[in-house]
């Protein structure tokens, strides 16, 4: 009697479509990648471009860990098919500044915000986009924007202080 659990094995001898080539621009550089066009940008960044600063937290745009800038707007890259960004300027946490010098990064460091740090790329990218696009953001604006980024370690108080500090610093 064959033990079905150990004997059934499928190999990918089936036909798999050739991966198309697509060009995307990330942090000012152009990259040519061979990927399934459905692949969310998050995975192209992480697996094809070795840019692992953008994180996977949920895959359904509920936690914000995957936030990048697409033409200056904060976007959740986990639900963004790579095909939709081939003409966009993509900026990830790695490209946010030279030497960790963005006001948001400086404020985050000054107030020692991160605990485990895993959500912080997303937090920083979301805050940075807000600062750029709404430099006169009210407290409500900030709250409405940041509440989409989850921090499991609970550093919310410091995130709030750091954003206030970053806004002050950039005036």
């Amino acid at each position: 009697m064959v033990d079905i659990r150990y004997e059934i094995k499928y190999l990918s001898i089936h036909y798999q479509p050739n991966m198309p080539e697509i060009k995307i621009k990330v942090n000012g550089k152009s990259h040519l990648v061979n990927v399934d066009l459905e692949t969310p940008l998050l995975w192209v960044l992480r697996d094809n471009l070795e840019l692992t600063g953008t994180k996977y937290g949920c895959g359904i745009a509920q936690c914000g860990a995957c936030t990048v800038h697409i033409d200056g707007q904060a976007v959740r890259s986990c639900v963004l098919p790579v095909s939709s960004v081939q003409f966009s300027e993509i900026v990830t946490i790695e490209g946010l500044s030279e030497n960790c010098s963005h006001p948001v990064q400086l404020a985050w460091d000054a107030l020692d915000v991160p605990q485990c740090g895993y959500c912080q790329s997303g937090q920083i990218m979301t805050a940075a986009a807000l600062m750029k696009n709404n430099p006169k953001a009210s407290e409500d604006d900030i709250t409405n924007t940041m509440q989409g980024n989850i921090c499991r370690c609970g550093t919310y108080h410091r995130i709030k202080e750091a954003i206030d500090l970053a806004f002050k610093m950039s005036k």
Partner: protein, 706 residues
């Protein structure tokens, strides 16, 4: 093992005509004076190069609790170096150099406090002796300042310049440590050593680690706990670009691919049939089981003092309440994942685990490979919360790698993670208290029924020890739903139940809840009942301090306060939560927390832990829930499982008692009292007692206070 190595070293050194440097096994490790051609001074925790570059190794796994920084601070303090110039590195698993290289129980600082101090102090001692020799002056004329030894004459040497000479000096068995009042780093505000890497996306977490030639893997586990794999059809899945193979691994279906996305795309295309060899679990079944066992047992008596049955019979008043909590996933932001490269008789393991030595031992056992041939490299971790005390995902990666003969990177998606078990157990508690005519508690009874909770009680916890007649009993139901330690295991819910119950007892007794605690603590001090596992004085201190800070009972207008206090993981935390009525609407405004964890190593890290634990405890008490239907958890991602958000946290006032006691732990202690303080404030504001978590399901109006 240590003795063998020492003898080996002895032979080697004497063989090459060097000097033997003894070391005391009672300290921390040894200095590598032998064959010191590089001119360094080093031990297990630090390395000083001839160019005066100081490196400190931090051995314990870092999950966001700040231990990587805190450990290095302790070494640097005793060593007297310029903190700004220190390089702190994460050490990999090394069972010869380090003890207890794990993260759990809030125990790291307490365990390593003395050895870290000695590691730094020993090096400083040798450097002073070396300078003393070089200058031919007594060490009393020398000072160490930020990596330099300075003499009153003005002459100075860098540590690097003295390293070679220092490494040749014999270390005495007794090394003097700094006086606590001379601490410069310890107790100050220090930023995490990983900030730059984290803020620029350079930090490598387990999930980020990769190696050329590795394959990506995912395992599909039974939908419902208790189910087994029957059949599967992967023909459609195999057409997905990047998928290499699909096969069964025990009761799981493995997908192997060349990157992560195919693992996600292909999974729903695999038609899997799961069998149910027995009745699958559900919320209704759980409730029936809790009720049945609570009524009929069998219970194991965990503690008995006096004659509780008699005391309850003679009571003037009996207060009784039941509390219940659901199973909870840990949900660290970085889901489970691991890298394993298993070849003929060795394995390389890289990834996020709170227990790397256990990983080594367990993989050794699973694959029959000698432990010394298995290396474990510790990556940064996106949270742990106790989930990563269980190496199931590490073993899966190792098993896959061994099976397909390739390096494997295993990913658990968020859905895999949230539905994959190893949960905080579901528990039901029944409390009873007997009061005499004066409102004194004459008897206290607790029955805890857990599902895979082990001992669901903590039988020695206050107020036990302060009550004449006590009975604490536990019963455990063996569920198919797997469980594991979750931040402040058992007390993460027990404390809330206990503190909410005591609030109810205080009301029935006509006493102020804080006054009642202080009376009980007086009794525990003057006439303790049986074993006492806590220090009443330290309890009193945090209670009185939080009462003073929050102006308890001083009639703050429109403010409703709830009190709670707990001792866990060797630290004491008292909390007062405040709900304010703002234009007839009750709003959760503030939480005061006073902590006694002994000496605070890093003010910033410590505050992060208190704030974080309160947010964690609060969020899960209010929102955390898993429902089970046919053994399957209904919440699998953040669209249905609610984690507390940025806009849902109250103000927090955190204060530390400054008592100079040797440091204890802080990863967990601030969490347990949180739910109780919140529930007690809610009662004051609304008149409604909360008996179940999550609070938003227990009371439909609860949502409004957030």
């Amino acid at each position: 093992m240590k003795t063998q190595r020492r003898d080996f070293l002895k032979k080697t050194i004497l063989g090459v005509g060097g000097l033997w440097i003894g070391f005391s096994e009672k300290t921390f490790g040894n200095f590598n004076g032998l064959n010191n051609t590089e001119g360094v001074l080093e031990n297990n925790f630090l390395h000083i190069s001839p160019e005066n570059i100081i490196t400190i190794w931090s051995p314990n796994p870092e999950i966001g609790q700040g231990i990587k920084t805190a450990f290095a601070v302790i070494v640097a303090e005793e060593l007297d170096v310029d903190w700004e110039k220190v390089n702190v590195k994460q050490a990999d698993l090394d069972t010869k150099k380090f003890e207890r290289q794990l993260t759990g129980g809030s125990g790291a600082i307490k365990h390593s406090w003395e050895r870290l101090r000695k590691a730094g102090a020993s090096a400083r001692y040798l450097l002073l002796e070396a300078a003393s020799k070089k200058l031919n002056v007594p060490t009393s004329e020398l000072k160490t300042i930020k990596g330099y030894v300075k003499h009153s004459s003005g002459k100075e040497f860098s540590y690097g310049e003295l390293a070679t000479l220092a490494s040749e000096i014999k270390l005495p068995s007794n090394i003097p440590l700094k006086d606590k009042k001379d601490f410069k780093l310890i107790g100050s505000t220090i930023k995490s050593v990983d900030n730059n890497d984290v803020l620029t996306g350079k930090a490598i977490y387990g999930i980020d680690f990769k190696m050329p030639g590795m394959v990506y893997a995912r395992l599909l586990r039974p939908k419902g706990f208790g189910q087994k794999l029957k059949t599967f059809d992967a023909s459609e899945a195999l057409k997905v670009s990047g998928v290499k193979e699909v096969f069964a691994l025990g009761d799981k279906v493995a997908i192997i691919a060349d990157s992560n996305f195919p693992l996600i795309k292909a999974a729903p295309l695999i038609k899997i049939e799961w069998s149910s060899p027995k009745e699958l679990e559900s919320d209704d079944a759980h409730n029936r089981i809790f009720t049945e066992i609570m009524q009929n047992g069998p219970f194991e008596v965990r503690r008995k003092d006096g004659d509780p049955e008699k005391a309850f019979k003679e009571a003037s008043k009996v207060v009784e309440a039941e509390f219940q909590c659901p199973f909870l996933p840990h949900n660290p932001m970085e889901p489970m994942n691991f890298f394993a490269d298993v070849s003929q008789n060795k394995a390389r393991l890289v990834g996020p685990t709170q227990v790397p030595q256990a990983a080594q031992t367990q993989v050794s056992k699973l694959l029959n490979i000698p432990a010394e041939n298995i290396s474990v490299e510790l990556t940064k971790m996106g949270g742990g919360f106790g989930r990563r005390l269980n190496n199931d995902y590490c073993l899966e990666a190792a098993e896959l790698s061994a099976k397909i003969n390739k390096p494997v990177k295993l990913l658990w998606t968020r859905e895999d993670d949230m539905s994959g078990g190893i949960y905080r157990p579901a528990v039901r508690y029944k409390f009873r208290a007997a009061l005499d005519k004066k409102g004194n508690i004459t008897a206290y009874s607790l029955k805890g029924v857990g599902m895979n909770a082990g001992n669901a009680t903590r039988q020695d916890n206050f107020p036990v020890g302060a009550v004449e007649n006590v009975i604490v009993e536990s019963a455990d139901y063996k569920s198919d739903i797997t469980t594991g330690p979750w931040r402040a295991p058992i007390t993460n819910f027990l404390a809330y139940a206990e503190q909410a119950f005591l609030d109810e007892v205080a009301e029935a007794a006509g006493k102020d809840p804080i006054q009642m605690r202080l009376e009980l603590l007086q009794k525990a001090t003057n006439q303790p009942v049986g074993k006492i596992t806590y220090e009443p004085k330290r309890f009193e201190e945090v209670i009185k301090t939080v009462a003073q800070r929050a102006s308890w009972n001083r009639g703050k207008k429109g403010v409703f306060q709830g009190f709670s206090v707990y001792f866990s993981h060797n630290s004491y935390v008292a909390q007062i939560a405040e709900i304010e009525k703002v234009r007839k609407k009750a709003v959760l405004k503030k939480v005061y927390a006073v902590t006694d964890c002994g000496i605070v190593i890093n003010q910033s890290g410590a505050r992060n832990q208190v704030f974080g634990a309160i947010v964690d405890g609060m969020g899960h008490a209010m929102f955390g829930n898993l429902n089970f239907v046919n053994g399957e958890p209904m919440q699998k991602n953040y669209d249905t499982f609610r984690l507390i958000k940025y806009n849902e946290v109250p103000e927090i006032d955190a204060h530390f008692i400054d008592n100079g006691i040797d440091p204890t732990g802080l990863g967990e202690p601030a969490l347990p009292p949180t739910g109780g303080a919140l529930a007690n404030a809610y009662y004051k504001a609304t008149g409604k007692r909360l008996y179940k978590q999550p609070f938003v399901l227990e009371d439909q109006n609860f949502e409004e206070i957030i």
